[in-house]
């Protein structure tokens, strides 16, 4: 590695944190290889089980702390689904809740030092977004048959404009999963990479005099960006979920 040869220089590897590597030796990443992805997804699953199964064990009418957190999450997503996608979307609530909780836990667990963030990978978010896209499209056609295509035919627009609008609507419909997935992965990746870049500047004080100014600044910047990332971790999960609800609303009530 070129940079590691200069042992006293700064080491910039902002993207190394995203490398998928096998946990138990070897270099091959096969389909079933247990990797850091497996580890952090498993941690997310266990944390989710701890909060939502163990935390609600008491079924108390007056909730314990963990139970009220679980209830808060339940109420938050349930209200979102009901308000945005309508009352008949409530049967998709477990599905949407699964997506939201997985993204929230992956995002927040990824903020732990040394952690791996599955949601910073386009492969992961693309699967999530495609799952939403396929679900919504299938639900639309199952519920409304060919009337679902009315989604693209803006009947309130003047007739000559309608074919143009239909083309735009179709393109925007198929762009949805792309923006849906890249928004989440891009946000997570950018934040983590920026933190890593600032972190690489932090040891400058050991190398050069100018580090007296740069090191505190970079540590301050890491702290600030970390705070921002906590916000982004939640907001991106929220945005992903609410867009899922909006798309679902289009499928359930395609009238323009």
């Amino acid at each position: 590695m070129a940079t590691e040869e200069h042992s006293e220089g700064l080491a910039f590897h902002p993207m190394d944190q995203f490398i998928v590597k096998p946990l138990f030796g070897g270099d091959e990443v096969g389909v079933l290889t247990v990797t850091n992805v497996t580890l952090w997804m498993a941690i997310a699953v266990l944390a989710i089980i701890a909060l939502f199964v163990l935390g609600t064990r008491g079924r108390a009418v007056v909730p314990s702390r963990t139970q009220s957190v679980a209830e808060l999450a339940y109420g938050f997503v349930h209200k979102m689904v009901e308000d945005v996608a309508g009352h008949d979307a409530v049967k998709f609530f477990p599905y949407i809740f699964t997506l939201f909780i997985f993204i929230v836990f992956s995002n927040f667990l990824g903020l732990l030092p040394k952690a791996f963030t599955p949601t910073s990978h386009i492969a992961v978010t693309a699967v999530l977004a495609m799952a939403v896209f396929l679900t919504v499209t299938i639900v639309g056609f199952v519920k409304h048959g060919l009337h679902f295509l009315g989604l693209f035919w803006v009947s309130s627009a003047p007739l000559p404009l309608r074919p143009v609008l239909a083309l735009i609507e179709v393109i925007s419909y198929f762009v949805r999963p792309v923006s849906h997935s890249i928004r989440l992965a891009g946000n997570m990746m950018a934040g983590h990479a920026v933190i890593k870049v600032f972190a690489a500047f932090a040891p400058l004080v050991l190398i050069s005099g100018v580090g007296i100014a740069v090191t505190p600044l970079s540590i301050l910047a890491i702290t600030a960006i970390y705070g921002l990332e906590i916000l982004v971790a939640f907001i991106q999960a929220y945005v992903f979920t609410i867009l899922t609800c909006v798309y679902l609303k289009d499928a359930l009530h395609p009238a323009h």
Partner: protein, 191 residues
């Protein structure tokens, strides 16, 4: 180390060149790990496993449980509010009954007082009348006694006057019969 004596510009320049080198190196060897398609199958496989586990745990255990708890709480709150409202209505009713009872008692008391007053008045009137009658009888009796005594007294005076007059006449050397003396005394007494 030689680096510590370098100027700030040089240090930053070196850092920047390292950064550029690092970026170049990253671009050369792997680029963004996100675009390394050889790991896609692995990530997607574990993602699907994780999602299925989460979905089943949530939809079979956690969500029905939480939904049940929330519904229970809502029901408890609703029934508690209903019970509270019922109790409140009962309290209002009880207050009304209490006020009614007090009003009834008050009118009853007033009636009893009026009755008692009327009875006492009647007794009093009767007693007064009786006393008046008794007093009148006593007064009449007394008046009769007084008249009697007065008459007796006049008789006595007349007798004394007659005797005195007769004695006077005798003392002056005259003599007079009893009848003329009595007549003269009676005339004088009248006059």
């Amino acid at each position: 180390m030689a680096n510590t004596t370098e100027t700030a510009t040089e240090a930053v320049g070196e850092a920047a060149s390292h950064a550029a080198e690092a970026a170049g190196h990253a671009a050369q060897s792997a680029g963004m790990p996100q675009l390394d398609t050889s790991t896609f199958a692995n990530q997607i496989f574990w993602l699907v496993v994780a999602l299925i586990v989460i979905y089943f745990v949530l939809s079979r255990i956690a969500l029905p449980r939480i939904g049940g708890v929330l519904a229970d709480r809502q029901r408890t709150i609703t029934s508690d509010i209903a019970a509270a409202e019922e109790l409140k209505a009962k309290a209002v009713e009880a207050e009304k009954a209490y006020n009614q009872a007090i009003a009834d008692a008050r009118t009853e008391a007033a009636k009893i007082v009026a009755e008692a007053r009327a009875e006492i008045q009647k007794d009093l009137d009767a007693a007064t009348a009786k006393a008046d009658a008794e007093i009148a009888a006593k007064a009449a009796e007394s008046a009769a006694r007084i008249d009697e005594i007065r008459a007796g007294a006049i008789e006595s005076v007349k007798e004394v006057a007659n005797d005195t007059a007769a004695a006077l006449v005798a003392a002056l050397g005259g003599s007079a019969d009893g009848a003329s003396v009595a007549t003269a005394v009676a005339d004088r007494m009248k006059g």
